[in-house]
């Protein structure tokens, strides 16, 4: 049995970062599946990539900018129309507890 790629506590940590509430059963299943995928991804390690530039954009563009000209915004009612919990002219959120 090889060392697992990812532990249960790492799964919990990542779920917290991603703001995903996972049940205990979910966590173990997720750990197993991620472990399998990460093992597959590890095939990349065989490849020598020192000195290879990373590609972050498929097409090499630079300096794409717009002029500083204001344009009309979308009406307030349209922007609030999808709000799950609108409050007058605002979006409302539950109690914020700092982490």
């Amino acid at each position: 049995m090889t060392q697992p790629k990812i532990s249960l506590s790492q799964v919990e940590h990542v779920a917290r970062l991603a703001r995903l509430e996972l049940s205990e059963a979910d966590k173990e299943r997720m750990r197993r599946e991620l472990d399998g995928i990460l093992s597959y991804i590890d095939t990349l390690r065989a490849l020598q990539t020192d000195g290879v530039e990373p590609t972050s954009h498929a097409v090499p563009l630079t300096n794409v900018m717009r002029e500083d000209e204001p344009r009309p915004s979308v009406p307030q009612t349209d922007m609030l129309a999808n709000a799950p919990d609108p409050s007058g002219e605002f979006f409302r959120v539950p109690r914020i507890i700092e982490e």
Partner: protein
């Protein structure tokens, strides 16, 4: 315990004075109805994409040049992830490994001596929206969000931990503020939040090369708060260390009401920002030509202007410093001098009279001053040609400020022309001497102060319009010799 050395670094966020937001065309104007200045881009709607505002980049380059930063030829935006309801996408488009500029310096003056503070980096990012809590955050059952501010361009300037006292930090912030306002890239208003400052504070044994555990201080929304918060925090850390406590790496909020910093009790995992290059924005390639074109439009900066004012106009260092605290004030001074070529006199009037009415660094107030430079010059010329006395001029100045009228109109309307007719004045002098024989006696007895009283009586009798030099001369002639 050894002597402790204070180490402070500042992170300053300046809202840029662009007309539209960083990545969309929504207006940046302050004070609109909540959520009325948003669109799919700045509200983070599914499918929306950012497009870089060219002016924001140019404002960043302007500032970078002004603080001696090296503008990186290649820079790019990155996504910084954390969840907070005022941030529409739950990531902020910012810059990370490849910021716009790095390695600058800022000279500050504290207590008459000069110090150089290093600037680590300058980068661009987008502002977040505004959260409004129902009461204080700790007890609020819910909060509401206004996304109008979300996406407004921000420039973050990070200093090196080079400041050694709260006073130096305040001086750094003031100097930096003056520069961004001079450059026209930020209005510098701390109370409205267009200029914000966070600080990292730590202590270490004097002379130690290592940094102590640093505490981040937030929520200091005025110059006064910055200095008070840092003074409090330094004392808190000194006391804690003296009592053998360990300083915890944390974020503390300044509470101006209770005059103390309060821990936010943040957990470490909250700070895994998972930066990666923003795939929706191609990188920027800043060519030398672009930088030079921007450099050519840089205004004279406060430090250079201060030196020129002192050297070129023969002003004291103190006056030159005060006159250059705001670009509008310095412009006001120079425009006046162009019309009335006596810099020291103009400086006195600006510093003593004008600044009675407005703060030196309030560009908006100075620009809207009801006495334009031309009118101040006109007033000073009336003193020179003897039409009014210096004392009268101060009253005229106040009327000018109140009404916006020029000096000649006010002087003519109120009949303020100075009495310089020797014949008329001689009669008044005779009357005054006759009415105060006791004082004349005192003067003869050697009481020189009596002369001042007599001059005052003449001025009173002429409603202040008498030419003071002539009054003195006539009194000298008429008074019996001692």
């Amino acid at each position: 315990m050894n002597d402790l050395e204070t180490v402070i670094g500042l992170e300053v966020h300046a809202q840029l004075l662009t007309r539209s937001k960083m990545f969309c065309g929504c207006s940046t104007a302050f004070g609109a109805a909540p959520n009325s200045q948003t669109c799919p881009v700045c509200q983070g709607m599914p499918g929306a994409l950012p497009v870089i505002n060219r002016s924001a980049v140019e404002f960043g380059i302007r500032t970078a040049l002004a603080v001696g930063c090296r503008v990186n030829e290649h820079h790019r935006f990155a996504r910084k992830h954390y969840y907070y309801p005022d941030m529409p996408k739950n990531f902020q488009i910012s810059q990370y490994e490849e910021p716009l500029a790095e390695h600058g310096v800022l000279d500050i003056e504290v207590g008459g001596s000069s110090r150089t503070i290093g600037i680590q980096r300058l980068h661009l990012e987008e502002d977040v929206g505004k959260l409004i809590h129902e009461g204080p955050l700790e007890t609020a059952q819910s909060s509401t969000v206004d996304f109008n501010r979300a996406g407004v361009p921000l420039m973050e300037i990070v200093s090196r931990p080079d400041m050694r006292s709260p006073a130096e930090a305040a001086a750094y912030l003031r100097t930096l503020r003056t520069i961004v306002v001079y450059l026209g890239v930020c209005d510098g208003n701390m109370e409205e939040g267009s200029l914000r400052c966070d600080a990292n504070v730590s202590l270490r044994p004097a002379g130690s090369p290592e940094l102590g555990v640093k505490v981040e201080i937030k929520n200091m929304n005025s110059f006064r708060n910055v200095q008070h918060a840092l003074e409090y925090e330094v004392k808190r850390q000194v006391r804690a260390l003296a009592e053998g406590e360990k300083i915890v790496q944390e974020t503390r909020l300044w509470d101006p009401e209770r005059v103390r910093t309060v821990s936010m009790r943040s957990k470490e995992y909250a700070h895994d920002y998972r930066y990666f290059p923003e795939p929706d924005l191609p990188p920027l390639q800043v060519e030398a030509r672009w930088v030079e074109a921007i450099r050519a439009t840089l205004p004279e900066l406060p430090a250079a202007r201060r030196r020129r004012f002192a050297g070129g106009y023969g002003l004291s260092a103190y006056d030159a410093d005060r006159l250059t605290q705001g670009r509008a004030l310095a412009d006001y001074f120079e425009t006046t001098v162009r019309e009335y070529d006596k810099p020291k006199i103009v400086a006195n009037w600006v510093l003593n009279e004008l600044l009675r009415e407005m703060p030196a660094d309030d560009d908006r107030a100075v620009a809207a001053c009801p006495i334009p430079p031309r009118n101040l010059a006109g007033l000073l010329r009336l003193i020179d040609d003897g039409t009014i006395s210096g004392k009268m001029a101060k009253d005229v100045f106040e009327t000018m400020y109140r009404t916006g009228q020029d000096a000649p109109s006010i002087v003519a309307r109120e009949g303020l022309t100075q009495v310089a007719d020797a014949g008329e004045l001689r009669r008044v002098v005779d009357q005054v001497l006759a009415a105060h024989p006791k004082v004349v006696e005192d003067w003869r007895g050697g009481k020189k102060a009596a002369l001042g009283f007599l001059v005052g009586q003449v001025m009173k009798a002429t409603l202040g319009r008498a030419n003071p030099a002539l009054v003195n001369q006539l009194l000298g002639e008429k008074l019996p010799k001692g």
